[in-house]
């Protein structure tokens, strides 16, 4: 028996010895890539119009040094940018706006507050120095209010979850972006995802894990978004998560931007319902 057990033990030992180091860095050569314009413009009622126009880069292109013109390497300046609303063209000035608290950057700006108009469309038109056009149209959707925030404690535990209830209109196809912040909106969201109502039958509840203690402040936000923004967010998330994942299908980012410039990005209205709750028993 010992004659058999010895080699078996040896095999088991070898199995253990080699069961590591399965990952290594490699050099790979990707196909040639032509940089594209990237647009981000969110029309938030009551806020001035801001837009970020940047450019993409080949995947392995070295990142610029943070201290040496980082933004200059990414941002696209000197384009003609305007929003057309109710037949009136609102030009956007090429001006760098940086919110030091949120660190959000925009390079085009118009000191015109966006109206809460859920009927009339907003059009975006951008022309670069070479005459290439980026165009898009969007609307601001009606706010879907949060019905209630409900705190539920786990049995025999000090931690609670928070359920966010909204009422969905079953007669329409609706799309939402759900965000949850802890403490302050200036912090990064602890939950952030897009959803649709295709499976819902009226009331929708968004939950959290049992992670919150008495005294925690939670801010729930439900954005009512259109299909284009929903598909953009979903495809953005899919593109990031499929990056080499053998269980996932890669997906290009789905962007509704038109024009001749082959740009990528989002032009959308933002309307949302928001509620805050302090966790208590």
């Amino acid at each position: 028996m010992a004659r058999i057990m010895l080699p078996l033990s040896f095999f088991a030992l070898l199995s253990g010895m080699f069961s590591c180091n399965l990952e290594k860095e490699v050099d790979i050569e990707l196909p040639a890539y032509e940089p594209r314009y990237v647009v981000e413009c969110y029309l938030e009622p009551g806020k001035p119009i801001t837009l970020l126009l940047s450019r993409s880069a080949p995947y392995f292109k070295p990142f610029p040094d943070i201290n040496q013109d980082f933004l200059d390497n990414i941002l696209v300046d000197s384009a003609d940018v305007s929003i057309i609303y109710n037949g009136v063209e609102i030009p956007l000035e090429n001006r760098l706006i940086l919110n030091p608290l949120t660190l959000k950057v925009f390079n085009y700006y118009a000191p015109v507050n966006v109206p809460y108009d859920t009927v009339n469309p907003f059009e975006l038109r951008i022309m670069d120095r070479a005459g290439q056009i980026i165009s898009a149209t969007t609307r601001i959707l009606p706010v879907v209010p949060i019905d209630s925030l409900v705190v539920q404690f786990a049995e025999n535990d000090t931690l609670a979850r928070v359920l966010t209830y909204i009422t969905d209109d079953p007669a329409e196809s609706n799309y939402y972006r759900r965000m949850m912040h802890k403490g302050s909106l200036d912090s990064l969201a602890i939950q952030d995802f897009a959803a649709d109502d295709r499976l819902a039958e009226g009331v929708i509840a968004f939950g959290t894990g049992f992670n919150y203690a008495v005294g925690d402040t939670l801010i729930a936000t439900i954005f009512h978004i259109d299909k284009a923004y929903h598909d953009f967010l979903e495809s953005l998330s899919d593109a990031a998560s499929a990056n080499g994942n053998p269980f996932a299908q890669p997906s290009p980012v789905i962007s509704e931007l038109g024009g001749t410039a082959d740009a990528i990005g989002i032009f959308t209205g933002l309307s949302y319902g928001r509620k805050t709750i302090v966790v208590s028993r």
Binding site: V105, A189, A205, P246, P250
Partner: protein, 786 residues
């Protein structure tokens, strides 16, 4: 009127029998293993003095017309068995129960040559077979012998991801394989994402794979037919076999119900990693931060009863049940996921006359997955399934030695449940639901005749009429099949075949590996059946008496191929067709093999040069997007487009106690869809900043590095009083090659002061990381037989 000509042609061919002038009788019977009564498929029955021969069909039955003689010598042979000679007094139709024994094979070279000559003289081409002996001896991952992985070593059948059972035959996708287990369709032949197949080698008799030149009896898939036959059970004595491995154990019991006539077999297999993970979980249960390891195991159960009902009838009843079970449970969250197949077959063989044999089968197939989850106050249940009831009948008629006629029908009723979801809160306030049910009727009617015009030239002409009815939509089409053989000499054979195939069921799967949530979807008004036309040419040469060289080239046109739109939502979607994109493709290639079946050293070398391109995809939804022609990227190849594929397999019987095996594989790397560009997305106030978002463009634009691997095996046999056992030692990936399983691109960041007390992460570079599935991997399995 248009059918009159073929009928006339058929009658003309039937009348082409030069031997009618002489009185003839039919010798028929079943070839069996003398030790356990198992039927032998493809045994050679030869009358050397008359230059006439035939082979047993897939039920072991054979029939040959011989001239009346006082004395006719007939030799029955089969690779791995001792040939047996019979002297017959042929004065009437004669039944012969040909029983062969294993043991000392003094004439093994002759047997092998006979087998090769039968291959050369058959119109059948593009066929690969694997015996359970090969599957058991060859080294495999974690010591679990797997007949589906063994067939991947044959030319023209590249695997999917390394270590998995995926089959991509001649450019076809993995859902284009018709996999039948004792005539019942197996819809998902995988355990654990395809790392193991559902076929327990102990219960399997053999596996035959058609890559092209499909017989008219088969239909329903475009690219291959994989016919797995279960053992029938030992009708001589009670016996058993099994094995204990690193991750699973097996046990098979078989024996006679009536000695020499009827038998049973029961075979089971189960993995036991969960036993250890539960112990680990229990040991750590008091640690606060400990996250329990989820439970996972799979099991299979095969049973078969084989009843002789007189000289002319035999009844078989067999079944398969297998499940993968995954579960996770803690105070707040419970998640259970199980999936698997169930099949059942009731089959009746009847010999109407020495020239007419019939096999009638009723089969049932079921594949389903179920996910249930519960989080305090909320529950969730989702599942899909496909169920079939299939009645089929196949007739084998040999009016004379010039004709082998097969005809029959099958009718299958399919029931589909697609993405059935029920979720909601316990108080009923929140409810979600989804799901669709479909049914479909699939029909097939076929006729074929293998006509021997002369010793040199034979032709197998067949036609299959297939149809599919779903709701009020009916698709029907003729599927012509043609195969021809011309022998230049008794060593050289030229072959050609053409086959048209239709596929009425489609697999909705977007991942590169087999997922249990992949679901089957029927042809509908908008989703038309897939179609292929395959033309193959081949040459075979018998080198000496021991080596068979084969060369084949093929061209396959694929129409109405299914892909999915960008960002497709395939999981629980009542508008699933909106996610489909339909296009076409073509595949062509060249396969070469040299094979030696018997002797102390046996094995084969196979090489394939292949290419596949897909193009012209259009989305079913008007606003659907498919990143291809519309963006000017042109045709693309699927990820399994493997340009070069080489397999070298060697089995060496060192002594009665010792056998050594080795396999070497080399293949071009698979394709992957990587993003050539990236952009930065800052998002809205309150959302996180995405420094690197991949910008995907042309599909499958990057080829992974070539892979190669050497696996070694050693089988040490023991002969205790109670039977036989062996210790199988495997070293997979013997020289520790790190083949690429996947590549991911990972940004690296540095944290900088963003002002106002905020720290921000700025990307500094992107690293490409290669992940391999396994290093050098030794394993052992103890197998026994009594």
């Amino acid at each position: 009127m248009k059918y009159l000509f073929p009928v006339f042609l058929f009658c003309f061919f039937l009348s082409m029998n030069p031997a009618y002038a002489q009185e003839r009788f039919t010798l028929s019977g079943v070839a069996r293993d003398a030790d356990n009564g198992e039927t032998l498929i493809g045994a050679t029955i030869l009358a050397p003095g008359l230059g006439l021969g035939t082979t047993s069909n897939e039920y072991g039955f054979f029939s040959i017309s011989l001239p009346a003689r006082d004395s006719v010598d007939v030799v029955v042979s089969y690779v791995g068995y001792q040939p047996r000679a019979y002297r017959l007094y042929l004065t009437a139709d004669t039944a012969l129960q040909a029983e062969l024994s294993t043991g000392v094979q003094l004439q093994e070279v002759t047997v092998q040559a006979n087998s090769y000559r039968e291959q050369l003289s058959s119109t059948e081409m593009s066929v690969e077979t694997v015996t359970t002996r090969e599957a058991r001896l060859l080294p495999v991952l974690l010591g679990e012998s797997d007949i589906l992985k063994t067939i991947q070593l044959k030319p023209g059948i590249p695997s999917g991801s390394e270590g998995t059972t995926g089959l991509f035959v001649r450019g076809g996708s993995s859902d284009q394989n018709l996999i039948v287990l004792d005539e019942a369709i197996v819809y998902n032949p995988n355990h654990l994402f395809g790392f193991f197949s559902t076929f327990n080698t102990d219960a399997v008799k053999d596996l035959k794979l058609y890559k092209g030149g499909f017989p008219a009896a088969y239909g329903g898939r475009l690219s291959s037919v994989i016919d797995v036959k279960l053992k029938e059970g030992n009708n001589q004595k009670i016996s058993g076999s099994g094995g204990i491995g690193l991750i699973a154990s097996r046990l098979t019991l078989e024996g006679p119900i009536r000695k020499g006539n009827s038998s049973f077999i029961v075979s089971g297999r189960r993995t036991y990693v969960d036993v250890f993970t539960r112990l680990i979980n229990r040991a750590n249960s008091r640690k606060e931060d400990y996250t329990p390891i989820p439970d996972y195991f799979f099991y299979d159960l095969n049973t078969k009863v084989n009843l002789g009902l007189g000289k002319k009838d035999r009844l078989f009843v067999s079944g398969y049940f297998g499940r993968d079970v995954f579960g996770f449970d803690n105070d707040f969250f419970n998640f259970n996921f199980d999936w698997g197949n169930a099949t059942g077959t009731a089959r009746w063989n009847h010999v109407f006359s020495p020239r007419l044999f019939a096999n009638t089968a009723f089969t049932y197939s079921d594949y389903q997955y179920n996910i249930t989850s519960r989080i305090t106050g909320f529950s969730f249940r989702v599942g899909s399934n496909i169920r079939d009831a299939n009645l089929k009948s196949d007739f084998y008629y040999e009016p004379n030695n010039q004709h082998t006629i097969r005809f029959g029908f099958n009718t299958a009723y399919h029931l589909f449940t697609v993405g059935r979801l029920k979720a909601g809160s316990d108080d009923g306030l929140v409810q979600f639901s989804a799901g669709q049910d479909f049914d479909g009727l699939e029909l097939g009617l076929y006729f074929s005749d293998e006509i021997a015009f002369s010793d040199r030239f034979s032709l197998n002409a067949g036609i299959r009429l297939s149809g599919f009815l779903n709701d009020s939509t009916f698709y029907g089409a003729p599927e012509p099949r043609l195969a021809a053989r011309y022998s230049l000499s008794d060593r050289w054979s030229l072959k050609a075949s053409y086959a048209r195939m239709f596929q009425y069921l489609h697999l909705v799967s977007s991942a590169g590996v087999a997922l249990p949530t992949d679901l089957w979807y029927p042809s509908t008004r908008r989703v038309k059946p897939q179609r292929s036309d395959q033309l193959a040419l081949g040459v075979s040469y018998l080198l000496g008496e021991q080596f068979l060289l084969s060369w084949e080239t093929y061209y396959k046109f694929l129409d109405r191929q299914l892909q999915f739109v960008d960002g497709a939502q395939l999981f629980v979607n009542d508008e699933l067709e909106e996610e489909f994109a339909i296009g076409q493709g073509e595949a062509y290639g060249l396969e070469f093999s040299i094979e030696k079946k018997q002797g102390r050293l046996s094995g084969w070398i196979g090489y394939t040069l292949a290419l596949i391109r897909l193009s012209d995809f259009e989305t079913l939804a008007p606003d659907g997007r498919f990143a291809q022609e519309s963006e000017g990227f042109g045709p693309f190849s699927p990820i399994y487009d493997r340009r070069h594929d080489l397999s070298v397999v060697a089995l060496f019987e060192i002594s009665r106690r010792l056998a050594a095996t080795a396999t070497f594989v080399y293949g071009s790397g698979d394709l992957r869809w990587l993003a050539p560009g990236r952009f930065t997305f800052q998002d809205i106030y309150g959302a996180s900043f995405e420094a690197v978002v991949p910008d995907y463009q042309a599909r499958n634009n990057y080829r992974l590095p070539p892979f190669h691997r050497l696996d070694l095996g050693l089988v040490i046999r023991f002969f205790p009083k109670w039977g036989e056992s062996n210790l199988s030692l495997n070293v997979v990936n013997a020289y520790d090659r790190r083949n690429t399983f996947f590549i991911y691109l990972e940004p690296e960041y540095e944290t900088v002061d963003g002002g106002g007390g905020n720290q921000i992460e700025i990307p500094t570079r992107i690293a490409a990381k290669q992940v391999s599935l396994f290093p050098i991997l030794p394993s052992f399995t103890w197998n026994f037989k009594f």
